[in-house]
Amino acid sequence: MQRPQFRHPRQGSGPRAAGFRSPPPAFDRTGSMFPSPPWAFSTPPPPFGPRFGQCSPNTPPREFGGNRGGGGGKYFDGQSPGHTPRRSSPSPRGAPFRRSPYESPGRHSGYQGSPRTSTPFGSTHGRERGTNDMEKYYKPSMLQDPWADLQPISVTQAQSKCNSKQTNTSRQGRYYN
């Protein structure tokens, strides 16, 4: 499950909530294109959608998480119907989504009052990057059962598996390849 990343400084207005939790600016502006934010809170973005939150095809592809780097480029040239060559306006586009249910209130209060995050195009590198950093550390698999796909293996089964491998004497060690 991916979340849009908003690293572009022009999108930096408001707290980080707008930065990574909210739907992209394109959503706000192009109501017809994106009638509703079905993915804003729970589901992944539409496959052709502006997953990377690029409001401008000129926006350089920033880091959007390891899984998406490869697939994002092709959307930047406006081929996708999801993108229109528009510039974002420095409006508090994130305002309606400032209080995402997944945001901790503490973070908001910290950002709203901070001079570092109060400027529309201000250098919010420290804070914004921090929250986006946390997204990089998160993986959905962290809450999934790691043993779900495994069957218990008995000691005797493992031993026979071991023995069958050890009879393969043709395999050389790494120093003798």
Binding site: K136, Y138, S141, M142, P146, W147, P152, I153, C162, Q166
Partner: protein, 573 residues
């Protein structure tokens, strides 16, 4: 209850706690407990940093010090074991465990605690066969050898754990139990970590000691780290005593970096009505009491007592009576007292002290626990006895052990060189870096340090000299006068000077000399106190038949052949 498990920490407490917090908010869960499987790096200050077995350029303060100083508080109860990258001087203060910071508990060399009725145990360190049978003899200042051996797991701790009879819910080791990789997706593991292939296929990867404990305890969960890979396994043990065969869920996790599998949240059944505070485990404490006299802080090999007619007692498991006695010792309150206190200065970023020497002293938490239960503070014992024991007797078995030595544990070959990439998932061990060579030198059991080019006389700085002020036993005085060959804790460290800060209990020792030492120098300048006895060069370390230095230090020179005489050629490595 929700238990978060983390692999190798490497001092990234801020990131780990932030990740948990992020995950809690995102997923609407609340984590009750964090378990960390080693490489915790509880570095309080610059001195502690020097007691980490990490190449100097990779030594970083990281973030633990903030939790130590009180600047931050761990948002969730954290329990950890030691790995092979630790501030060993700090952890040695807690042989039986203790709070390294508020809400952060270290299990000690080995330990079992209870939380919400769940029994959680662990053993610290990694397995290396050549040190396995030694006692916990190490004491700062560490030599390059003891800096490594200090975190090598010891059979005395495994012996204690094998006295456990009641079921354990969760157990942690830093390195993997040997063979566990056959109980999961082995092929996937080898694809992810190609350099493990040979050891996996030959069955030599992992710790045999941990495997022994896994077979004995058969806990519900077993968590490990060390190899920087997420790997899950389901091991079905052989049925014991006509009971249904138990299954252990094994999980190893990665280190804390972006996009890595370093964290796992699990639902672990707790026991309703049990304490929400961290508690001592009576069975474990009873075993500690019963085995207390077995501990010898010596580098001589210790052989556990067996039922072979040679020992009067070999069963040290805890009787009901012994457990009740423990409860009585604790005045009926099993809660681990929240008695953390700062004992050394914390790192202050505004006033860095890069030349600070490591602190080492007793810890009041250990003192209190030992007094309560009648245990020996083996850290003090190691400090006092370091010279008296010497190294004789330890070498007979050393050579045969060395043959199987390298099969102990993989010493994280890919960790520091690739640390900055964060994305590498495979490592070619043939591309050895300097750091690996530095580690592998130690793994070969090098005990003669003459090759390291230190031919200067290094004053030993007696291991127990801080006690000399207050302990005028004949043994101490004799040790003061003798110029002994250095014991296993040969102090060829970068910081032979020591400082002991006053605590409420042990009186302070000599203040540190004002002479500053460069990091690479092993020479001690003036400022020697009378209590410090210069020793002969470490090249004369007579560690047994393996030593070939005779009585003279070997000095490596360029164009060695020009200087090599016939007898020198025989001694060349």
């Amino acid at each position: 209850m929700k238990v978060a498990v983390e692999g190798c920490c490497h001092g990234e407490l801020d990131k780990i706690y932030e990740s948990i917090s992020y995950l809690e908010n995102k997923e609407g869960v609340k984590v009750d407990l964090l378990l960390c499987c080693g490489d915790f790096q509880a570095v309080r200050n610059e001195g502690d940093m020097k007691c980490m077995a990490v190449p100097a350029k990779y030594r970083h303060m990281q973030t633990f010090y903030k939790y130590y100083s009180g600047e931050k508080r761990a948002p969730v109860l954290t329990i950890f074991i030691g790995g092979n990258h630790e501030a060993s001087n700090h952890l040695q203060e807690f042989p039986y465990g203790g709070w390294v910071a508020p809400n952060i508990y270290y299990l000690g060399y080995a330990g079992i605690v209870r939380f919400k009725g769940v029994r959680i145990g662990g053993v610290s360190g990694i397995f290396k066969s050549h040190d396995y049978k030694k006692g916990h003899f190490e004491f700062p200042p560490y030599s390059p050898e003891s800096l490594r051996s200090v975190y090598h797991i010891r059979n005395i701790d495994v012996f204690k754990l094998k006295q456990i009879k009641m079921p354990i819910d969760i157990f942690m080791t830093h390195d993997w139990p040997r063979g566990i990789y056959h109980y999961g997706n082995t092929n996937q593991l080898i694809r992810q970590k190609k350099f493990l292939r040979q050891e996996v296929e030959s069955g030599t990867l992992g710790s045999p000691a941990a495997a022994e404990l896994l077979d004995h305890m058969q806990p519900t969960y077993w968590f490990s780290a060390h190899l920087h890979v997420k790997f899950a396994a389901l091991m079905q043990h052989e049925a014991k005593n006509n009971a249904a065969p138990k299954i252990t869920k094994f999980l190893s996790l990665d280190k804390c970096l972006p996009h890595r599998d370093f964290l796992q949240i699990l639902e672990v059944a707790d026991r309703p009505g049990s304490s929400v505070h961290l508690e001592y485990d009576p069975e474990w404490l009873a075993i500690l009491k019963a085995t207390d006299s077995l501990q010898k802080p010596s580098c001589n090999f210790w052989n556990p007592p067996q039922d072979n007619g040679l020992h009067t007692r070999w069963d040290f498991s805890a009787s009901e009576e012994a457990m009740m006695e423990v409860v009585s010792d604790l005045s009926g309150d099993l809660c681990i007292p929240e008695n953390f206190s700062l004992t050394v200065p914390a790192y202050d970023p505004s006033r860095p002290q890069p030349n600070a020497h490591p602190f080492y002293s007793t810890n009041p938490q250990t003192t209190e626990l030992c007094a309560t239960l009648g245990l020996t503070d083996i850290y003090i014992l190691a400090g006092q006895s370091g010279q008296a024991y010497g190294e004789e007797g330890a070498t007979g078995a050393t050579e045969e052990e060395e043959d199987e030595d390298s099969t102990g544990s993989v010493d994280e070959p890919s960790e520091y060189p690739t640390d900055t990439s964060g994305l590498s998932s495979s490592y070619n061990p043939d591309e050895i870096t300097i750091e690996d060579e530095w580690e592998e030198e130690e793994d070969e059991g090098v005990e003669c340090a003459e090759g390291k080019g230190t031919d200067a006389v290094v004053p030993e700085g007696q291991v127990g000299s801080q006690d000399s002020d207050r302990d005028s036993s004949p043994q101490r005085e004799m040790a003061n006068r003798l110029i002994l060959p250095p014991p296993c804790s040969a102090p060829e460290s970068e910081d032979p000077l020591r400082s002991l800060r006053p605590l409420s209990l042990p009186p302070p020792s000599l203040p540190p000399p004002s002479a500053s030492l460069s990091q690479g120098s092993s020479e001690e300048e003036g400022g020697l106190t009378p209590a410090r006895v210069p020793k002969r060069t470490s090249g004369e370390t007579t560690q047994g038949p393996a030593s070939h230095t005779g009585g003279t230090p070997q000095i490596k020179r360029r164009n060695q052949s020009i200087y090599t005489a016939v007898e020198d050629e025989e001694n060349e490595g």
